[in-house]
Amino acid sequence: MSTQHTLTIQTGFEVVAVERLLQVTRYRGFQLCGLEMKPMADMSGLLVTLNILSDKPISLLTAQLNKLYDVQHLELHAPATAALRA
């Protein structure tokens, strides 16, 4: 049984910030199942939404993402439980 999590992350405006988010997600062993990205209203950065599927505590990922210099704000939304399909 895995749990699906949604993270909303504000980053700087550089594309490399998104690369960093994805690299950390992959390297730390989390499954990405959705990604949305748009500029913030004031164009001061990017608003990235990640949908993550994981059987590990999501705190292991959020702790790593929060360390990124690019990450200005990270919000974890209430999880939904999803059965893994074979």
């Binding site: 490399v16 690369e19 690299q23 390297y27 705190s59 702790a63 790593q64 360390k67 990124l68 210099y69």
Partner: protein, 556 residues
């Protein structure tokens, strides 16, 4: 001024006097600005060597190390060293030249996506696209490298940015603002004090984060007040006062039996600036199975990452340790730990005439001048150094811990010597590791650096061979180095004198000759290829299941 000149200006602004690097096309403007500047550049003979020297400089001094390389292969050659700095939390700023933005993304000559390459091996990295951002970026890089959990930061600077005109603006002087003291986690501290006071068998598990936080004084006061025995990681060796009788030395795969057995029996593990690395814990599920855990670190991502803590605290050890220093009632446990030390002490009565590396290193440790810095490489000799040499601060023991990078030792010793010219710099290497950055002998020659080099030569990749012997049925795949060069002749080619020994009775005279010689010196030590590192916790085993010798069938 140009962007390149601004780079040098920013280095001096940050008090940087020594940097390590290698020039090339895309960084030529910076090297031109460096010419006749007050910043001393140490030309290394490979970018990896330059970056390892920057690491050695940083680890021995506590300052930020700086290295430079050109685009493409220059930058890719930095990658291993940056990964090493990341895993061992070493503050390094790497500056790379990049092709001009007009040709960026066209597969130009010596173009590679350095920013992309750097993502996984740096704490952070920057690509400077506008010369007006250069100063702020470099200031951020130095701040980031040292702040929180230190680490490497890379700044990639295209050639057109280096050549562009810019005005130097001094850093803004922050007006005096009232800074409130960091909020202490009072609830957690109270919990920690309660756990410590009620523990019957507590152990402090000390990592490199303690000395990097500048908390060695607070640590030793804490150990003195609580009376709790202690163990250290590879990176923290030298943290505990030598006079502390309850220090059990290094724990983990090649730790002492006393340290491992005590940790397996403890009822309270106080983890200070360490991270439950797999080389420390062995089988994580079986590590310190009876222990409650207090874990303090500056990096929130380390708390509860591998072992859930009963009390986790994020913060500065200098402030937190004094708040936790309560007396314990663990005299029986102290005596038990003393007995473990006595029962499992090292033995140096190795039979025969051949040199026994652990004894050699003990003799080296006893003979080296006070406050010597010992850099080592990776393999059997690295573990023997940790087991049999003694250090009075972690800044005197430079070892590639997290990444385990062969080739680290020689350039790290160069950086250490440059950062602390009045202290003796010694590199202990193996015959495999030494060849990985042997070109840095030229750096020693060029700058007449009196680095003392001890090459322990068993004509094998010894640690790999040991594992092949123990766990791969003696199938010695590609670990024979019996065609090694003549190391003394090799050193001589760089005008470095040396001597080769193979018998125990030659050791003391050879060590004295090495230390008496005023310049660099190479001591080549032949040892028996069958000597192994003991104890050893086999892969997947608990730390109390140490092997202390070959299985009977292997030994006969």
């Amino acid at each position: 001024m140009t962007g390149a000149e601004l780079v040098i200006k920013l280095l001096t602004e940050h008090g940087v006097e020594s940097i390590f690097g290698y020039p090339g096309g895309a960084i030529m403007p910076i090297y031109d600005a460096l010419y006749q500047s007050p910043v001393k550049h140490y030309l290394c003979r490979h970018e990896q060597g330059g970056a390892f020297s920057a690491i050695g400089f940083a680890r021995a001094s506590g300052k930020t190390g700086v290295c430079m390389a050109t685009s493409g292969p220059g930058a890719t050659n930095l990658i291993t060293s940056l990964a090493d700095a990341l895993l061992d939390s070493v503050p390094v700023v790497a500056i790379t030249g990049q092709v001009s933005q007009a040709v960026a993304g066209t597969d130009a000559f010596q173009e590679v996506d350095v920013l992309g390459l750097s993502l996984t091996v740096t704490k952070h990295s920057f690509l400077v696209k506008n010369v007006n951002d250069l100063a702020d970026t470099l200031r951020q890089a130095f701040e980031l490298a040292q702040s929180g959990r230190p680490g490497p930061v890379l700044v990639d600077i295209p050639k057109d940015v280096q050549l562009a005109q810019v005005e130097y603006v001094a850093p803004r002087t922050l007006s005096a603002v009232e800074t409130s003291a960091a909020v202490m986690p009072q609830q957690q501290l109270q919990l920690a004090r309660g756990l410590i006071a009620s523990a019957k068998k507590p152990i402090a598990y000390i990592g490199g984060g303690v000395h990097m936080a500048g908390a060695l004084t607070q640590l030793n006061e804490f150990l003195k007040t609580t009376g709790m025995p202690s163990v250290t990681t590879l990176k923290a060796m030298g943290s505990v006062d030598k006079t502390n009788p309850y220090y059990l030395s290094m724990l983990g795969m090649h730790g002492t039996q006393a340290a491992n057995l005590a940790v397996q029996q403890t009822d309270l593990l106080v983890c200070l600036g360490a991270r439950f690395d797999d080389r420390v814990t062995g089988n994580l599920q079986k590590f310190a199975p009876e222990a409650k855990v207090i874990h303090i670190d500056i990096d929130p991502a380390e708390l509860n990452k591998l072992r859930r803590a009963d009390c986790a605290m994020l913060g500065d050890l200098r402030a937190l340790l004094p708040q936790m220093a309560v007396k314990t009632q663990c005299q029986d446990w102290q005596q038990h730990c003393l007995n473990l030390k006595l029962q499992h002490g090292w033995r140096y009565d190795h039979p025969g005439e051949r040199i026994y590396a652990p004894l050699l290193l003990k003799q080296l440790s006893e003979r080296m001048p006070d406050n010597s810095v010992v850099s080592c490489d990776v393999g059997q000799h690295q573990m023997w150094v940790a087991q049999h040499m003694s250090f009075n601060t972690p800044r005197n023991h430079l070892s590639s811990g997290g990444l385990g990078t062969m080739g680290f030792g020689l350039p790290a010793a160069i950086g250490a010597k440059i950062s602390r010219p009045n202290d003796t710099s010694i590199v202990v290497s193996g015959d495999g590791s030494f060849m990985m950055n042997v070109q840095e002998l030229a750096t020693i020659k060029r700058f007449r650096l009196p680095v003392k080099i001890v090459v322990i030569d068993n004509q094998r990749l010894g640690m790999v061979k040991q594992w092949q012997q123990l766990f791969f049925n003696g199938r010695y795949s590609e670990t024979d180095l019996s065609d090694n060069p003549d190391f003394v002749s090799l050193a001589a080619a760089f005008a470095i004198p040396g001597h080769s020994i193979s018998r125990k009775d030659e050791v003391t005279d050879a060590l004295d000759a090495m230390f008496t010689w005023p310049g660099p010196y190479l001591l080549h030590v032949r040892i028996d290829e069958t000597d192994n590192v003991w104890p050893l916790v086999p892969p997947g085993a608990a730390n109390h299941d140490m092997m202390t010798d070959l299985p009977y069938s292997e030994a006969t």
